[in-house]
């Protein structure tokens, strides 16, 4: 394999994982922008999406239907969590709320362990067929599903925030929470909306990545942390930043693992996190002044 086709290979696998990180990062950013909370349970929402999907498919539900049901189930679970655990502690400081999300993450993981055990589950790829060859590199069809889903979801997110009334109401909360309240926008309802929307993004990420990585009760930890790193890389309050941060992280990881050693793969994300926090706390693309969704 020539160096250029090798690089292309790393780029393609980097984009695949990067798409997943982008979806998770977007969830972090949306919740952070609307509520001020960094939701460390985001990774568990990914796991729940994948687990529900596997369980439904194994129970004989056709994949397309299982996907829709799994996403909706995660949205409902997260909606209940927001209602029960976040809203009741609304008067608490943002730091307390962040710690609550860490507790939630541990709790969800524990419950998942009780329900699904420690065994990894396998989900069949969405479409059958061998790897596809592109200019000396190969890509598996499921990677195309991941990339396609990411593009579609990002376009939909953009559309919602840019062109729908509800999206604009969410943005109003981000731009000026006080004024948003004066318009009669209920901050609690917006918080619920942000959590449920982010849950859908996370669930989708978990479902499309499941055939590539296997599904385990603890898969949310790494995906959540990587998504967080991607969000920080993008400045934590910008949605385009989250997407670029996710893709950049995926590509850097894949290049680092390929060119140096695959043992460094997970370490790379955390080195990047530390570098960003030390050198550029506003994120690589951070426009520290104005906040935008």
């Amino acid at each position: 394999m020539s160096l250029s086709s090798e690089l292309l290979q790393y780029l393609l696998s980097g984009l695949t994982m990067g798409g997943i990180y982008a979806l998770v990062a977007l969830g972090f950013v949306i919740i952070h922008n609307v509520t001020g909370i960094i939701n460390f349970a985001q990774g568990e929402f990914v796991m729940l999406g994948a687990m529900f999907m596997v369980t439904l498919v194994n129970a004989g539900v056709p994949a397309a239907g299982a996907l829709v049901i799994a996403v909706i189930l995660v949205m409902i679970v997260v909606g209940l969590i927001e209602f029960g655990a976040i809203r009741t502690a609304k008067k608490a400081s943002p730091l307390t709320l962040v710690i609550i999300t860490i507790g939630l993450s541990t709790a969800i993981k524990g419950i998942a362990l009780l329900i699904w055990g420690t065994n990894p589950y396998k989900l069949e790829p969405f479409t059958k067929g061998g790897p596809i060859h592109i200019g000396g590199a190969t890509i598996i069809p499921q990677s195309l599903w991941v990339i396609g889903t990411t593009v579609l979801v990002l376009a939909l997110t953009f559309f919602i925030f840019e062109y729908t009334y509800w999206g604009k109401a969410l943005r109003a909360c981000v731009v000026n929470k006080f004024a948003a309240r004066l318009m009669g926008i209920n901050p609690q309802r917006m918080s619920l909306l942000a959590f449920v929307f982010s849950a859908a993004l996370a669930a989708l990420a978990g479902i499309v990545i499941a055939p590539i990585t296997y599904v385990t009760y603890d898969m949310g930890l790494m995906l959540g942390l990587k998504g967080f790193v991607a969000a920080v890389l993008g400045g934590l309050s910008s949605t385009p930043g989250a997407v670029i941060g996710g893709l950049a992280l995926g590509i850097m990881e894949s290049m680092g693992a390929g060119l140096l050693s695959s043992g460094y793969k997970d370490g790379i994300a955390f080195i990047i996190l530390l570098l960003v926090l030390f050198l550029k706390p506003g994120g690589l693309f951070g426009t520290s002044g104005t906040k935008r969704v």
Partner: protein, 240 residues
């Protein structure tokens, strides 16, 4: 129309409003004049539901609004145009106006475009720039947008917190002329101001607030002539 009865509001342990009562009749412009720190913003925020009074009540018609969350106060018909305008800077003019109608958006969708048209005819400076970001407007234009956004809620009473703040005298005049126009269309306005002269000229009645207490109430026309008001708020010297 709007009735405030013996309100006491605290910031932490400090009592900021002390036994404040006032009322506003339908179609009136009523102004509350007071120095910096007198409690004007706290008073309007209490009426708008942002602060909860420790005692006392606010009534809009027969509805008691002083126990409601902000969104219900807005629905009941009280809309606050806040100090410093607080427009949504990174949203367009048209989106700012549409968001003003948030509480009736679902039920009243059809009329919203007509209402925006009305607001634009009231503030011609905003017309033709609907897609411009609010943050790029001048201070006076932002104030117009903030008032327009408040009107989009179709309030029974519009609360204005220092609409003249930081604006040049000519712009202040332009905005106060619009308030007179609004009154002619039947809008009821309660406005707090430090710019006593401009406010008293357009108002029907006025209250003076000092350290959280109403110290004087009367017709705006009489206040302009009142020696105490002149010396304290209109910059006039007392005749020897």
């Amino acid at each position: 129309m709007l009735k405030v009865v013996k309100i006491e509001t605290y910031h932490g342990r400090i009592k900021v409003l002390n036994n404040v009562s006032l009322d506003v009749e339908k179609g009136e412009i009523v102004t509350i004049i007071g120095a910096n720190g007198a409690g004007k913003t706290t008073l309007l925020s209490t009426i708008a539901g942002i602060h909860r009074p420790k005692s006392g009540q606010v009534y809009l018609g027969t509805i008691q609004t002083s126990c409601m969350p902000v969104q219900n106060v807005v629905k009941a018909g009280i809309s606050l145009v806040p100090e410093h305008r607080e427009v949504f800077d990174s949203l367009s003019i048209i989106d700012n106006l549409k968001l003003g109608a948030y509480h009736r958006y679902k039920t009243d969708k059809k009329s919203i475009n007509d209402d925006i048209e009305n607001i634009l005819s009231l503030f011609p400076a905003l017309r033709g720039r609907e897609s411009q970001l609010a943050g790029t407007l001048s201070g006076g234009e932002q104030q117009m947008l903030a008032i327009g956004r408040g009107l989009m809620a179709k309030p029974k009473v519009l609360l204005l917190d220092e609409p003249s703040l930081g604006l040049a005298p000519l712009v202040v005049k332009e905005i106060f002329d619009i308030l007179v126009n609004l009154k002619k269309r039947g809008t009821t306005i309660l406005m707090v101001e430090q710019n006593a002269k401009a406010a008293l000229k357009v108002a029907d009645r006025a209250y003076i607030i000092e350290r959280g207490q109403i110290s004087l109430a009367g017709r705006a026309r009489d206040m302009l002539q009142d020696a105490r008001v002149q010396s304290a708020y209109l910059g006039a010297r007392l005749h020897a």
